[in-house]
């Protein structure tokens, strides 16, 4: 079967599904849905359909990004768009079966939006939702829309056409296309992907490896759960470009759903001649294997990841040599994260020019973030590079402007930087994020309100990174422990006058002197909270007061003092 035939069949299957007389009920069963109870809903849904002897198709999909509204189900009837219902309960499900499936009442009062071609009265389209209006979904293009366990859905939505296109080009041209798109590694450092590939391609040696780093956070997991083929296609394209015959997906072994989705996807690829020997009839061969890790934070760092993959304890080692010239088994190795690979497949499916039309001069394309904290609309979002934090937090996240309650935004999770409300006009791209002492890597944007104590927040972040330090490098291991101890003292009223300066000195020492990115970014929350909220630290240290009234030891002491 040629790819064109595969594609035609897939489109036919997908269209037939949409036009089928049987109603379809989609349910979001990615991890965010599951933690909201989606599996129970799923079970109930199936039981209810059987009990009422209704012929409907239940299809599991991934995360569409409206995580704050989980569990979500989407009901579609022949030729009509899917209608999304949020925060469904068992009784709502029963009700919807009665109302919409049986009685054709689509219940606009319970609906969030419609998804797909066509409109339904009284229900906005997905793109019209405030949360989606400003989003551009490239890496997340199929998430929550297609069945991640069905390769035909992916192919019907343009999947593997990027690979097919790449195979018509020579490897250098593929790398050039990726370079032209301006894509930079979404893992954090923002190294130009095309440049990285070229170094690996040009590195001496015939045996090369390719690794998909899926151990770097929840964004990766969600994409793999929702649209594994977008990542696998990207990997195939990358392998073809650099000349790798073996690829690995390194993932926390506890992420069982993502692993299951990947394994299903890999089997389907084999059936379609999309992996192993002679991919799509070409001379290109590529095998992909899933490797489970222990889930240590450090294993998201590429050198520690390699150690872990080699069966050793995950500990970082100094670069150079970089993995591109000496990585897995000391062979040239390309490591990109899940989001990067998902972008690669999109770039080859469309074009470098199309991709580069999004973003800023230096940071092209889009970036996926997990938006959370004190915003009404928390979820998985994807925005063009250069969008301001203000737009993300207010327009997408729905924070109320001028409420005075938004205190700070933590960008980059526990290794991120904490920026005050006053600098939200800052555009989000590599240059600005890094300059602000924050970090793109983890893809977390967490909004905090006035009830958050900045010292406590920094302490919370440090307690996590400290515990995840691999223990190898003195500056990271002892530096983070030392900072945590000082922060703990400060929150307990035991801060000393020099402590703030000491924290700054330790933080700068970590940034400059630590061995790997984990250590270098660990002080970010401390340094940025001191930079922007120094008076809060001083209140703790000098007046033994916690302005946010979060540090319980300080509250009780001040009560006792009055």
């Amino acid at each position: 079967m040629t790819f064109e035939q595969i594609q035609q069949n897939a489109i036919a299957e997908f269209e037939a599904l949409e036009l089928d007389d049987k109603p379809r009920i989609y349910i979001g069963t990615a991890t965010c849905g599951r933690s909201a109870g989606a599996l129970k809903i799923h079970e109930h849904l199936c039981a209810e359909l059987e009990r009422r002897n209704l012929d409907a198709q239940v299809i599991e999909v991934g995360c569409i990004g409206l995580c704050y509204l989980e569990p979500l189900i989407y009901i579609a009837k022949s030729g009509r768009p899917r209608i999304c219902y949020s925060q469904v309960t068992i009784s709502i499900v029963s009700q919807l079966i009665t109302d919409y499936i049986i009685n054709d009442n689509h219940r606009p009062d319970l609906a969030v939006c419609s998804i797909g071609k066509g409109r339904i009265d009284g229900i906005p389209g997905l793109a019209d939702l405030p949360m989606f209006q400003r989003q551009v979904r490239i890496a997340l293009r199929n998430c929550g829309y297609i069945d991640p366990a069905n390769i035909n859905h992916y192919i019907a939505c343009g999947g593997y056409s990027g690979l097919a296109r790449a195979l018509t080009m020579n490897p250098d041209e593929v790398t050039a296309e990726v370079s032209k798109s301006g894509l930079r590694g979404r893992g954090g450092t923002g190294f130009h992907t095309g440049t990285k590939w070229k170094i690996c391609h040009d590195a001496p040696g015939t045996e090369k490896y390719l690794i998909c780093n899926a151990a770097d956070g929840n964004t990766s997991r969600t994409i793999l759960e929702s649209d594994p083929h977008s990542v696998l296609e990207g990997m195939l394209i990358g392998a073809y470009a650099v000349g790798a015959a073996h690829g690995y997906i390194y993932i926390n072994a506890e992420h069982t759903l993502a692993i299951a989705r990947l394994k299903t996807a890999l089997k389907q690829m084999e059936n379609y001649m999309l992996s192993n020997d002679k991919v799509l009839g070409s001379n290109f061969c590529f095998q992909i294997e899933v490797k489970g890790g222990a889930g240590d934070l450090i294993c998201g760092e590429e050198t520690a990841l390699i150690q872990s993959m080699e069966g050793k304890r995950g500990m970082a080692y100094p670069r150079p040599p970089f993995p591109t010239t000496s990585g897995l088994g000391s062979k040239p190795t390309i490591i990109n994260n899940v989001e990067t690979w998902a972008n690669v497949s999109a770039i080859l499916q469309k074009s470098a020019e199309w991709y580069a039309s999004y973003g800023t001069m230096q940071s092209k394309g889009t970036k996926v973030f997990t938006l959370g904290g004190k915003v009404p609309r928390a979820g998985l979002i994807e925005v063009p590079m250069g969008m301001s934090l203000h737009q993300i937090v207010y327009d997408i996240g729905g924070a109320v402007p001028d409420s005075g309650d938004l205190k700070a935004v933590l960008i980059g999770g526990t290794s991120g930087g904490c920026l005050p409300a006053s600098v939200l006009s800052m555009p989000v791209d590599y240059e600005h994020i890094n300059a602000a002492g924050a970090n793109m890597g983890s893809g977390n944007i967490t909004v905090t309100d006035s009830a958050t104590c900045m010292v406590n927040l920094a302490k919370h972040c440090l307690s996590f990174t400290q515990a995840e330090s691999c223990g190898k490098c003195v500056i990271c291991r002892e530096g983070t422990s030392q900072m945590l101890e000082i922060l703990t003292d400060i929150t307990e009223g035991k801060g000393k006058p020099d402590d703030i300066e000491l924290l700054l000195e330790l933080g700068d020492g970590l940034k400059v002197g630590a061995l790997c990115a984990l250590g270098k970014t660990a002080p970010n929350p401390v340094l940025t909270t001191i930079r922007h909220f120094r008076e809060e630290y001083e209140a703790h240290v000098k007046r033994k007061r916690c302005p946010a009234k979060r540090c319980s030891k300080l509250i009780s002491s001040s009560v006792m003092g009055t």
């Binding site: 080692y317 100094p318 490098c473 500056i475 002892e478 983070t480 422990s481 002197g513 061995l515």
Partner: protein
């Protein structure tokens, strides 16, 4: 390249740190060790290098052509001091109570960096010292997590036992699941302890004996051997199935490898560090295996110096005399050995029974010595040393052994059938037709007593008893002799003293004994015995053999001054007697000792005599190419519980009818198995020594 403005040349593949240190430019470092791969963990060796972002660690940065490196900038100084402050914040401040005091790399570096004041929170690791493992102790409160031990265990040795456990501030060095070293598969090579820069991993208390020195304390088998045979080396060669090379290593120190393989009293095994795990390595059996599988490849490395015009007379052809004769002959001197008896070998031939040392083995080694080109005159008693001097000998060695036994001065001691052990053994070994009665009683509890008893058992005695002064658990014979003796039916009567020998019609009928409560020796070596009153009883016997000690027979005409037990007085370093040009060695100097002691004495005498004759005194030889042992050991699952390959003697009923050797010796399989039990303690000292900063500033 350029370091701190100095032009530095280095070879490709070296790191910036190595290049700098080679050039005498000191960059502080702690986790780097010259025998280990670099880690970049301690952050002390950070430098600034043009074209490299951040501040790389010199130990992990390869030196490249034209590289410009700054090692002393303000920025790197700040990071170094911070790293040191952080290290010290978890380390106990009480340097002076640490066994590593003044020998600690951390202490030295803290001084170098001038870090004294403690601004940081003290975060001590309060971990008790773990002394539960054999040989090594872990004092993790002093551990700075530099990871050297882990790299030594994983990357140098491949044993993979010590690792980083847990993460963050909970990180420590240990074994998976906190198993004991033995259970974790440790090979007890000591590399971890050797590379530890602080007092965290140490040898157990008492292992390093400062009087003996580090080398002798850490490779005790080799240095417990009077001849300092390189035990770990030949055991390793056996493991590598290079038996001839192993035999050559033994022969580098002794001319009697096979004899020692049978009869050595193996002080090496007593000292063997493996006995701290379970049982000592069976070094003697391995030696025997090597000697018996020696294709004599050593001969082509063994040289003989051109003749000197010096003549040396050796009095006595025992192990001491023959050893001296052999080495002096190889140094080119003209040697004549005088032997009073009709046979060569001294006690090896007329003392040790044949079932312990087959004569063919002895003959072969003596022949090898004679082949070195020396003359042995048997049946030639030397009555006067002056005669030898008059005959033109330039030096004389007296090595006459301790052939003179004696009896207790008790009534009946001069009856017929009351024999002296040494004479009895000599007569038997000379092939004389010696008859003993049906019921033999040996008086004495040492190895010679057992030799007498066991020989008597093999002659015609139906019953052999052995009575001695010492209590059972303090008998002087080796446990091996006692066990084998009892297997052969010898009845032991410990804690006995003897009052008289009973007789009827001039025939011995038994010995009257008393039980002994306790005894001690006074300053003159006389026994003060506390016998139990009224405990008189008789051990019946028709033949009595005294084996209560022996001493040298030194003719008065020798004019040599003697000391306790009639042994010859010598200078212990040079073995010179009080007469110019006359030396003495072996049992006649030490009193009854062992073959290996005698050989060691013989070597010492050879050196001393050669020096006396104007030579260098160097008798060392390299008889096999000096191989560099591999540092890689590999995993050692079950290593610690591998038991000694026992070499049981043939059953007693089969050995009583003859004088055949009673122990068969290892076959290849058992020899290899046993050789694998060796801890290879010598490898540890092949790890490069670290230099302290002061060593560089001296350059």
């Amino acid at each position: 390249m350029n370091i701190d403005g100095c032009k530095v040349e280095t070879t490709k593949g070296k790191t910036v740190l190595q290049a700098a240190l080679d050039a005498g430019i000191y960059i502080p470092h702690l986790c780097y060790h010259p025998s280990l791969p670099s880690a970049g963990a301690c952050r002390l060796c950070v430098v600034e290098a043009e074209g490299i972002e951040d501040i790389p660690t010199a130990c992990t940065t390869l030196a490249t052509e034209g590289m410009i490196v700054q090692t002393k900038t303000e920025q790197v100084g700040k990071i170094r001091r911070l790293a040191m402050e952080l290290i010290l914040s978890t380390h106990p401040p009480d340097c002076t109570t640490c066994p590593k005091y003044l020998n600690c790399e951390l202490q030295s570096l803290a001084q170098y960096l001038g870090v004294v004041e403690q601004r940081l929170r003290r975060r001590p690791r309060a971990v008790p010292i773990n002394t539960s493992n054999p040989l090594f102790l872990h004092d993790l409160s002093r551990c700075i997590l530099c990871g050297r031990c882990v790299r030594a265990c994983y990357e140098l040795r491949g044993v993979e036992v010590l690792s980083f456990i847990k993460k963050g501030s909970a990180t420590y060095i240990g074994t998976a699941f906190d198993r004991s070293l033995a259970d974790a598969g440790c090979r007890f090579c000591g590399a971890c302890v050797e590379v530890c820069p602080t007092g965290a991993l140490r040898d157990q208390e008492g292992i390093i004996d400062s009087a003996k020195g580090r080398k002798a304390s850490l490779i005790p088998c080799r240095y417990a051997c009077p001849a300092e045979i390189d035990v770990p080396r030949y055991v390793r060669l056996i493991r590598e199935q290079k038996y001839s090379a192993a035999a050559a290593v033994i022969r580098e120190k002794v001319p009697f490898p096979a004899v020692l393989g049978y009869v050595c009293d193996h002080p090496c095994e007593t000292a063997c560090r493996r006995s701290e795990l379970n049982e000592a390595v069976s070094i003697r059996e391995l030696k025997r295996y090597a000697a018996e599988n020696d294709a004599k490849l050593w001969r082509k490395y063994s040289g003989k110096a051109s003749p000197t015009d010096k003549r040396v007379a050796i009095v006595g052809s025992g192990p001491a005399g023959l050893t001296t004769a052999y080495y002096l002959s190889k140094l080119g001197h003209s040697i004549t050995v005088f032997e009073a008896l009709p046979v060569i070998g001294g006690m090896m031939r007329v003392g040790i029974p044949e079932y312990r040392l087959p004569r063919a083995i002895l003959n072969a080694e003596i022949e090898e010595i004679i082949n070195a080109g020396l003359e042995i005159r048997t049946n030639t008693r030397v009555d006067s040393l002056d005669t030898l001097i008059e005959e033109g000998y330039h030096a004389i060695l007296v090595a006459v052994g301790t052939h003179q036994g004696y009896k207790l001065p008790i009534p009946g001691a001069d009856l017929d059938n009351v024999l002296v052990g040494t004479h009895f053994l000599r007569d038997v070994n000379l092939g004389k037709n010696i008859k003993v009665g049906k019921k033999v009683l040996v008086l004495g509890g040492g190895n010679v007593a057992f030799d007498c008893a066991r020989v008597a058992r093999r002659l015609s005695a139906d019953e052999v008893h052995l009575a001695c002064l010492e209590p059972r658990d303090a008998m002087l014979a080796t446990s091996e002799e006692i066990v084998q003796g009892e297997e052969e039916g010898i009845v032991i009567h410990p804690s006995h003293t003897f009052t008289r020998i009973l007789s009827e019609n001039g025939h011995v009928t038994g010995v009257e004994c008393l039980d002994v409560q306790s005894f001690e020796f006074d300053g003159d070596g006389r026994a003060c015995i506390d016998a139990i009153e009224g405990s008189e009883h008789v051990i019946p016997a028709d033949t009595i053999i005294f084996a209560i000690g022996q001493h040298p027979e030194i003719p008065a005409q020798y004019s040599l001054s003697t000391g306790q037990g009639n042994t010859i007085r010598v200078d212990t370093d040079t073995l010179t007697t009080d007469r110019e040009g006359i030396f003495a060695a072996g049992d006649s100097v030490t009193g009854t000792a062992s073959v290996i002691e005698a050989i060691a004495g013989g070597r010492k005498a050879a050196t001393a005599i050669d020096k006396y004759l104007g030579g260098s005194g160097n008798i060392d030889e390299e008889l096999t190419p000096n191989e560099a042992p591999g540092a890689w050991l590999g995993r050692g699952k079950g290593f610690a519980c591998q038991h000694r390959c026992a070499m049981p003697p043939i059953p007693a009923e089969h050995r009583l009818t003859n004088f055949d050797p009673i122990i068969c010796g290892y076959n290849e399989e058992t020899a290899l198995e046993e050789s694998q039990r060796c801890l290879q303690c010598d490898l540890r000292l092949k790890i490069a020594a670290v230099k302290f900063w002061a060593d560089y500033s001296l350059q």
